[in-house]
Amino acid sequence: MTPKKKKIKRKQWIGLVFIAPWLIGLIGLQVYPFVASLFYSFTEYNIMSSPKWIGLANYVKLFTADNEFWYSVKVTLIYTIFTVPGKLTVALIVALVMNKNMKGINFIRTIYYIPSLIGGSIGIAILWKLMFQEEGIINSLLKAIHLPTLHWLGDPKTALPTIILLQLWTFGSSFVMFLAALKNVPADLYEAADIDGASSWKKFVKITLPQISSIIFFNIIMQTITALQSFTSSLVITNGGPLKSTYVLGMKLYTEAFSFYKMGYACAISWVIFIMIMIVTMILFRFSSMMVYYEDGNDF
């Protein structure tokens, strides 16, 4: 899009100086835990006694003998497929609306961010349970408009959808990033489009989306990674139940590691999650080179 200018000679190695903090952290703080967990995945290791090398046995068990693992993969994928696009769509719509001028906009933005601020609070986990219980506010509302009531968190069929629904509520972090990105879209682009008489939908598709695509892409990647690893929401509200209907991979991993002391096996699960995320991310990056527009002319 931007016309290629002639390259300016900059001392490119200086970049290494700038990334030095991260590099030091990588070598000093990250490599050891990573390598250790990879090593443990080939061992029988209960955290307390020394690990015993068993080769690929953990992985073989994972892929052939552990039905629960595949079940958890399914739950996790369903969770991810629904939460990521759902959350991002809500966040984008809210950000677009909140980008406008209206009375008390500062207050309104804050209000829309509050659910994300308090999402992890213990008090709120109680509120969700209260809202979704048999005689709770949600069922009362449904009754009032003559719709059938549900068991929500108590029913294996509806527990996961309920958890997903609760996740959509905490769209705040993407919302804030979208808002910041929208503010960075140069106003003259819109002004030019206005002069051409473009419709608002056209402006959204031709100007807004491309201009914030790098941030959208970032959010897709990060939300996907978070969703595939997630376990806190199901742990706090349903503890993986009922009947394991919300037993996501992150939870299985945690249980194997800290309840059953099968750290070796848990590490194997982690590395499978790692590979899964890696594949998804690579696909997304491949997509991004086609879809994402960078001001820097895709020089990376």
Binding site: P115, S116, K183, N184, F300
Partner: protein
């Protein structure tokens, strides 16, 4: 021109009403929580009514004084110290690292960027214990340094990745023309990019503040002394299946602990919503 801009940016009253109505639903949890601070346990769990039967701020007083040794004054202070320092370190370090990645073509960059993203992909639960062992060897257990150090060295590459994406959204011509004018590499970053990155830096800071402030698992593992506990640990002190939990106290302290976050968001938003468009710079 000005008039046109204004028209484009205003909303119809229908939209406005919808926004307000949904906003009310967004507020419901915190309103419920506030009223719950005045309720008895039976009222909280046994009734769907929003309003409490009586108002008394005793739960706030009782909740604040945890026991004869410690009050929430300590916990609030600890949370602020730990969170603010960690946040500053994280934002500073991540911004510099992101600049290095986004604007330079050093050897091995593609691989290092791959590693940067890859460090986000391994679930935290399995690196928790090796990491704990490492910080213990460094003698940093029961201090806030595990958090400071991880901030200072951009261990959570989420922020680096996020800022890279923001920098890549800024036209390269900006800093390159400054570079040609004789600015040093660092000066280009500080004088040209940082002001433009303000919204992104503030949102990164906001997230790190919020996540550190709310972090339970890591603080639990690394901090032993009660006098160093942060709010997230303190809020769970009373919770025990084997004793009668006075939920109004827990709710009162939860509510107070959320207030700084709300105030922070409210105060900081003028920084992250002012972008290029309003700062008068044209690309």
């Amino acid at each position: 021109m000005r008039k046109k801009l204004k028209k484009r940016n205003s909303v119809s009253w229908v939209t406005y009403t919808v926004v307000l109505l949904i906003g009310l639903a967004m507020l419901y949890p915190i309103i419920w929580m506030f009223f719950a601070t005045f309720k008895s346990n039976a009222e909280i769990f046994g009734s769907v009514k929003l309003l409490p039967s009586s108002f008394s701020f005793q739960s706030y007083i009782d909740g604040w004084h945890v026991n004869s040794k410690i009050t929430y004054t300590t916990f609030f202070k600890n949370s602020f110290v730990m969170t603010i320092i960690t946040t500053l370190f994280t934002v500073l370090s991540s911004a510099i690292v992101a600049y290095g990645f986004a604007r330079y073509q050093f050897p091995g960059k593609k691989i290092l960027f791959g590693i940067l993203i890859a460090t986000l992909m391994l679930p935290g639960a399995v690196v928790m214990i090796p990491r704990y062992a490492m910080f213990n060897k460094l003698g940093l257990v029961d201090t806030y340094w595990p958090f400071y150090l991880q901030g200072l060295l951009s261990v959570n590459s989420f922020f680096v990745f996020m800022l890279i994406q923001f920098i890549r959204g800024l036209p390269r011509e900006l800093d390159e023309s400054a570079y040609l004018d004789g600015c040093s590499d660092l000066k280009v970053f500080v004088k040209i990019l940082v002001p433009l990155m303000k919204p992104a830096l503030f949102s990164a800071g906001l997230f790190q503040f919020m996540w550190t402030y709310n972090d339970y698992t890591n603080v639990l593992i690394y901090i032993n002394s009660v006098k160093k506990y942060t709010l997230s640990l303190a809020l769970r002190l009373s919770l025990d299946a084997e004793s009668v939990v006075q939920w109004n106290k827990v709710m009162a302290m939860s509510f107070l602990s959320i207030l700084p976050l709300i105030i922070l968001f409210f105060a900081a938003q003028k920084y992250f919503v002012e972008g290029i468009a309003t700062s008068g710079l044209k690309g």
